[in-house]
Symmetry: C2
Subunit: 115 residues, 2 copies
DNA sequence: CCGGAATATTCTTGTCAAGGAATATTTTGA
DNA sequence: TCAAAATATTCCTTGACAAGAATATTCCGG
């Protein structure tokens, strides 16, 4: 997994940009407007995202249209793959947990133990 | 998606810690040793990861054993879910791409267009 | 209850990057 | 060719945080 990708996504406004672009390519001005950013900050974040490989640009007349690149997200997906065993394992114990809740009427987690 | 999780994982050593803990819980000393970190830095990173909810601790004798918490990773997984359509769509065009390679003998990407 | 092992905290220093404001650059249409 | 729209860049200040070194704390076994 590439820390550069994570770093780029760790900034809240950049994360919002990525989520916005999920719906389709947009110009800088549109991105700035929809996220209530000033244009220079939008440009700066887009440059950052671009250098991280998360977006790509194309020029169209006066505008610059930014679009998502799926590759880094695919890499994240593959990285997470190696962890999926963990929560499937825990899911096996879910029925026990539900039973516990039913018995106690509690909505609090039981103190978890592990070894 | 929570930026806190991404921020915690964006630091290379912390990412390594998470990958190491994938194999099972470890003490601070073991983590420091296996990643060639000094003990104080290991402790600091673990504190950071702990506050981000990525790990949990338990005391055992003299040691503190850290263990992965799957929840934030599950959240990442669900977040990525909303992007999976993207690369599946692109996958549909793979056969065209392979055909292109065969025709041209080129190993270079054709210039991609999008609108 | 004391010494030492394991771990945590504090302090300092350097780097990175975010936001604001101002300005430069690019590009198009008239 | 020029003005204006769209975008990029620069400069500044500020805050976060990583690493190193030193020190504090915790806790077990003897």
């Amino acid at each position: 997994m590439n820390p550069t990708t994570l770093n780029a996504l760790a900034e809240p406004n950049r994360l919002l940009i990525i989520e916005l672009l999920r719906e389709g390519p947009l110009s800088v001005g549109e991105i700035a407007e929809r996220l209530h950013l000033r244009q220079p900050q939008a440009s700066k974040h887009l440059k950052f995202l671009s250098e991280a490989g998360l977006v790509e640009v194309r020029a169209e007349a006066n505008r610059r249209i930014y679009r998502l690149r799926p590759e880094p997200l695919m890499e994240m997906d593959e990285w997470l793959e190696s962890f999926r065993g963990m929560w499937e394992e825990r899911f096996d114990r879910l029925s026990d947990y539900l039973l516990y809740l039913k018995k106690t009427g509690s909505s609090l987690k039981p103190k978890e133990e592990f070894k």
